[in-house]
């Protein structure tokens, strides 16, 4: 006779269960998807380090409590970008935005009530963080870019909370056939408060659609930020998604890309700058489910203080996904003795006619390069900044818009400057 399995619930897990029971009747639409997602959470609980994909980010241990839902939104100041149609989100809630030709924006609740279904961007992937968002999300929008249209959107998220709060927005983007979209999402929040974000961005790229997505994490310094990008690519679609991460205390950024049509391309990139006791995990699952897909991953992580960086990149090539071309690189630069980095590239290749490569490196600044620069009159801190900016620059250089690239490069310089001042 098998022993009954007793699941010890953590306070956070219990809080999720109680909250779902209390809220589910009032959650707008998508009842079936919510119930399925929550059932998976109830069965498994928060992932602990015993789950391989959470080995370096033990969420069960890190998420001790579930903060109550954020109070009504208070609009906060956020960065402005010229030339973009701007949509503000306060504590996850859409505040309206600029109209742009060929683009419709519908509140998530309305879209769900009208029958939109969450989770299509996940393909065959499954993840508890995404499930929790699916179960609870009531804030967010569904953005549709009409076939053949071009748009530049800035989703400006601002988290203004006076006490611990949880924020679970979901944004679903549908790019029609041949549409092209430059999508920037900026995330800024209050320092000093342990708020929790669990956010999902679904990107559904139609045939020959092109989406360039740039996420900027400038979350508050005590925030736990679980961000997710879930993208599906139809035939000949091209996706670029990049995160520049500076903020938050504990962050996990997950990117799921599923190739559903042939000859699609995806580039997934990240530039992460960590200091103090920050923990940042970038986890990718790239699923080549069809032949002739191309994927490129480039992650650069700079780690100072006693911060810890994590990169996990999984490339799956399904048995019939011949002629897949995948290349993945994760490089880390450790600026202090206590800084740490865990790199875990994984290739799961079931087809025999593919080109896949991965590389991971981890090291300090090169003393010989530093000496060379110093010998030309650059003080050490400037020499270090030059080398760090160059290291991260290889990721930022891929941003198509020069003005945007300069803003991001400026944030990296600012980070190095603060570091040198803090000495």
């Amino acid at each position: 006779m098998a022993n009954p399995v007793v699941i010890m619930r953590t306070p956070a897990e219990t809080a999720f269960i109680e909250r779902f029971a209390a809220e589910k009747a009032a959650l707008p639409g998508a009842a079936e998807a919510r119930a399925e997602a929550f059932a998976r959470f109830e069965a498994r609980g928060l992932p602990s380090k015993r789950i391989e994909s959470y080995h370096y980010t033990d969420l069960r241990n890190l998420m001790r409590a579930m903060a109550p839902a954020a109070k009504d939104a208070v609009a906060g100041e956020t960065m402005a970008l010229d030339g973009f149609a701007r949509h503000g989100f306060s504590n996850g809630r859409w505040q309206g935005g600029d109209s742009s030709a060929g683009v419709t924006v519908e509140p998530l609740a309305d879209a769900y009530r009208a029958g939109s279904r969450p989770g299509l961007g996940m393909g065959q992937a499954s993840d508890i963080i995404v499930d929790l968002n699916t179960a609870f999300a009531r804030d967010g929008v569904v953005i549709r870019v009409a076939a053949g249209r071009h748009a530049k959107l800035h989703l400006a998220f601002s988290e203004n909370v006076a006490a611990a709060a949880s924020i679970l927005p979901r944004v679903i983007v549908e790019a029609g056939e041949g549409a092209s979209l430059l999508l920037v999402s900026t995330h800024e929040g209050t320092d000093g408060i342990a708020y929790q974000v669990n956010e999902v961005l679904e990107l559904r790229l139609g045939r020959q659609a092109k989406v360039e997505h740039i996420r900027l994490n400038r979350s508050g310094d005590k925030a736990m930020v679980l961000s997710n990008v879930a993208a599906t690519l139809a035939e000949e679609a091209e996706l670029q998604t990049m995160q520049i991460a500076l903020g938050g205390e504990v962050c996990r950024h997950q990117v799921f890309v599923t190739y559903q049509g042939e000859n699609a391309k995806a580039a997934i990139r990240g530039a992460t700058l960590l200091k103090g006791n920050q923990h940042h995990d970038s986890t990718l699952v790239v699923d080549h489910a069809v032949p002739h897909g191309e994927s490129r991953e480039l992650f650069r992580t700079v780690v100072d203080g006693s911060a810890q960086g994590v990169f996990q990149g999984k490339i799956i090539v399904r048995p019939h996904a011949q002629k897949t071309d995948g290349q993945m690189a994760s490089n880390a630069l450790l600026l202090s003795d206590d800084a740490g980095m865990s790199n875990k590239p994984e290739l799961e290749i079931f087809a025999d006619d593919v080109v896949c490569a991965h590389g991971a490196t981890c090291g300090a600044l090169d003393e010989n390069q530093l000496f060379y620069l110093q010998a030309r009159g650059l003080p050490r801190r400037i020499a270090e900044a030059l080398l760090v900016e160059a290291f991260v620059g290889e990721v930022l250089d891929t941003v198509s818009e020069e003005a945007l690239r300069e803003i991001l490069a400026g944030l990296v310089s600012g980070w190095m400057w603060e570091r040198s001042v803090a000495g």
Partner: protein
């Protein structure tokens, strides 16, 4: 200009320089010749301030100021320049960006205004033109993928722009074909004047056909063992270094 007295240097407990004495006067072009392993490169690194070396005794003065306590960038600000034997590749840093950062850092240290972008471009283009450096190279990451000769020209370009009062050229002739050697030598000769001094470190005499030294020092076993005029270089070309290597030869 440069005075080195009784310099003793170790690396990892191994003695490399053993009481080296050397003086280079203002306006002088001095050459140091010596066999491999005599400590020539160590000397150039120690003067420039590389951390790996331990100075156990002695002093190095630039215009009377002991520079041993200075950081490498402070030595550069004081007018010292080392043309590296193996210039480093710096991926991701455009050559122009680097040149600008270096010029600005030195201007700032002297309390001068930074050059305007127009002045900077003009100055760099002129100097590059004289050294036969293609302007497109300046857009590329510093030294990345440059040939040996291109790297050495880039060192001389930096020297020309930074206008150091004391320049040390560490085996600048190594890896150069005869045309590149001539261009590099012309770059140095163009800056010869009563205010600037050069210390040319080389294994072979051929560079000294193009940069005529005032003084030649022979270095062996971590010391200067002989000092004289240009005739020493020719003599070494004939006879080699055997007589300076003692029992080790």
């Amino acid at each position: 200009m440069l005075e080195i007295k009784n310099l003793h240097v170790e690396i990892d407990g191994k003695k490399i320089l053993n009481g080296l004495n050397l003086t280079v006067k203002r306006g002088e072009v001095a050459a140091i010749m010596g066999p491999n392993g005599s400590g020539k490169s160590t000397l150039s690194y120690v003067i420039a301030g590389k951390e790996d070396y331990t100075v156990t005794e002695g002093e190095i003065r630039l215009d009377g100021v002991n520079i041993l306590e200075m950081e490498p960038h402070e030595r550069a600000h004081a007018g010292l320049f080392l043309a590296f034997q193996y210039p480093l590749e710096i991926p991701g840093v455009a050559t122009m960006t680097f040149l600008k950062a270096a010029l600005n850092a030195q201007a700032k240290s002297r309390g001068e205004e930074e050059l305007t972008p127009g002045e900077f471009m003009k100055k760099v283009r002129e100097a590059a033109g004289q050294l036969g450096i293609n302007p497109d190279m300046l857009k590329r990451p510093l030294n990345v993928g440059f040939s040996g000769g291109e790297k050495k020209r880039m060192e001389i370009l930096q020297m020309a722009l930074l206008e150091p009062k004391m320049a040390i050229l560490d085996e600048t002739d190594s890896g150069l074909d005869i045309d590149a050697l001539r261009i590099v030598a012309e770059g140095v000769n163009a800056h010869r004047d009563p205010d600037h001094a050069f210390l040319v470190i080389t294994h072979y005499q051929r560079l000294l056909d193009h940069i005529r030294p005032d003084t030649v020092h022979v270095m062996a076993r971590g010391q200067i063992v002989r000092t004289g005029g240009p005739e020493i270089a020719l003599e070494l070309e004939d006879r080699g270094y055997a007589e300076y290597l003692g029992n080790a030869a």
